[in-house]
Amino acid sequence: MGESAIVTPAPSGRWPRTVVARETARRGVRSAVLWGVIFGVYVTESATGYEGAYKTSGQRHALAQTLGSDVGISAIIGPASHLDTVAGFVAWRTLGVLTVVGAVWGLLAATRLLRGEEDAGRWELLLAGRTTRRGGAAQALTGLAGCALVLWAITAVIAVAVGRSSSVHIDGRSALFLAVADVSGAAVFLAVGALTSQLAPTRRQAASYAGGVLGVAYALRMVADSGAGLAWLRWASPLGWVEELHPLTAPRPVALVPIVGLIAILTVLTVQLAGGRDLGASTIPDRSRPPTRTMLLSGPTGLTVRLVRPVVIGWVVAIALAGLMLGLIAKAAGRALTGSTAMRKLVSDFGAHGAGATTYLGVAFLMVALLLALIAAGQVGAARGEEAEGKLDHLLVRPVSRTSWLAGRLSVATGALVIAGAVAGVTGWLGAASQDSGIGLTNMVAAGLNLVPPAVLILGVGTLAFGIRPRAASGACYAVLAWSFLVELIGGIVNASHWLLDTSVFHQMAAAPAVAPDWTTNAVLVALGVAAAAIGGIVFRFRDLAGA
């Protein structure tokens, strides 16, 4: 038969043999740049925040005393040494947070760029006789390395620039090494994700295998750092090796040896496994004949529940863990916060006041709000994906109206947000209660639900974009989200104008549980979201369905 209906011309360019490497790098570089900037901002914010909050050496000593000796903090973020210097604080805080964030980014990026692209059938086009499976995998890994390099370079440039500022005093070489340490978690898990992409039959499973590895690595590191005399366990976890780098305080480049070694081994395994399987197949067999489950499959909304369930469960578990950890460290972190008058002021700039654990949670729940907003953005992307891939056609050529399909999707997304918010509140309370922090369950659940309205607003804005410019829907959500998050971070550092701050979807959100949630404002946020979604829905009803 004449047509195979593939019109996308395989990119060739000047070096057709490196096409997979270039495509992988091209598809990954945008997120590497974005996260490089976020990493850089986080380094900046850690340095300037510390400078602003702990001005005198007395305050710094007090901080080192409280946080430095807290076992919970050490287990969750990592051992805090040298907190009486800006370098020590920056190294501890950025390494503790960015290693894990980078690892999650790395495993998602690698599985998306390898398994995801292969599942979508793009590899078939790219490879098309130009190179072997093995060569293709090697090229894709090269592309991933390019992404890691971009992440490092941007982090490094910002770190060096911050280090030069007169009050911070971090020399260039140390700043470069800090950037290496901050992105090494990402680098390791890019390689882990590349390997699980060979093992698992789908992108989602590849990501969850890699997530499992991260969970084990984190747990090992946690036990090692919990002061139970098991410090040697740190050498059993890649996250422990990253800690052993001790950037800025006592640099130990030798700890790079196991990190680089592991990456090398994973790379070789990836290439080997890729050569030993068929394109689109997996090393671990797919359970291709699961039992038939039709309970949810009686209409479009049931189908949506079935389709988004695994993703939402993954998010809710992540949020539950985040809530639990924030709750666990709330008391100790709160004590450190209130030990500094300047810090108290900084915190009150965020809208939180009071003392101790509630104050800390009020600020820290901004992170959880970001996670909820990410769920919302993901749901908009998923709805658009159904349209772009032509799956929606199968529903809309049957007696299903566009409005009812979209309304169903939005209800499911909203339900997921409410569940996620409530779960964050409950697990935050569990963690805090286990430390006798004296925060009530009702307050914490209210604080969790308080995170939902900004996410609903993102959902609404995304739906509006979905109606008007469907191909830009997902991008619009992430743009609003990234912008809002940056405004929140920077707004805390510089004295940003109210006009600027008001452009953040998070800015109107009360810093619960430090202060009571403002349900009137929340109702306004939700109403705005609903209005935007309604307009988007009406436009969607009357437009052409648009392919990818």
Binding site: M1, E3, R289, P290, V397, R398
Partner: protein
Amino acid sequence: MAEPAIHTSGLSKRYADVDALSDLDLDVHQGEVVGYLGPNGSGKTTTLRLLLGLIRPTSGSAEIFGLDCQRRPVEAHRRLAYVAGEANLWPSLTGSETLHLLGRVQGQVDAAYRGELIARFDLDPSKKVRTYSKGNRQKLILIAALMARPDLLLLDEPTSGLDPLMEQAFRHSVHEAKERGQTVFLSSHILSEVEALCDRVGILRNGRLVDMGTLSDMRHLSALTVEATFDGSVPDLSRVPGVSSVEVEGRVVRCQVQGTVEPLLKVLASSGVHELLSREPSLEELFLAHYGRSTDPGTGSLEVPALGG
């Protein structure tokens, strides 16, 4: 008189710089099997997506059983089923889960017939869609459409990716549908398929319907192919009225005759013809006549492989 299954008037769709469909006036009566032929890019899919209300016309209107395709899509869709040439389904569902879902959404399923179709198309519905080949996914959406026994079947190149055996199963199913009085609108670039199945054929070229009629109508209107073998010398036939495309191969002459054959017969009779063959044009030849073989630069989009079936 029942309302037509499909009625369009002046239906047009313009994308930024292409007229994907221009001024389509089409009537498909209930119980008819109508073929819709055109090479890639001629506007077949655009027509079907307009009929389904998936895209909006630039101008004109379309109705399915008298229901406006844009304003009352849900009611119109209760009476039809559609099969696209590209079956992108949910990879995490199994075949039977997909059929269950699509049946429930459609609102009507002939369960016994579904079983028959699964056997006929030799599909293993217990597997996940992810593990299906393109052909298997195509079978799945064919079964999903046929099992609803809708009044109207809209089929857009439905057999792409099917092997010849399954192509037979498909033809059998269309015959069955016709016997039950269902209407079928079949877009295709496979001429033999349309020739075997359809009562009427429309030919689409660059978004315009250039011909529409029964196959016999079309054949009468177009040229007859004549092949004559001579005993002795070959006469010059090119000046005979109505004759064109004369090809000489030794003592054999092939030519086309438009209109009456009388002048040609006179010439042949006086020139010692030894053997005479004549036949009606195949659909392929009709089709090529509309596209001027590949000599017309305006039809660059016509690729001969697309006609090979």
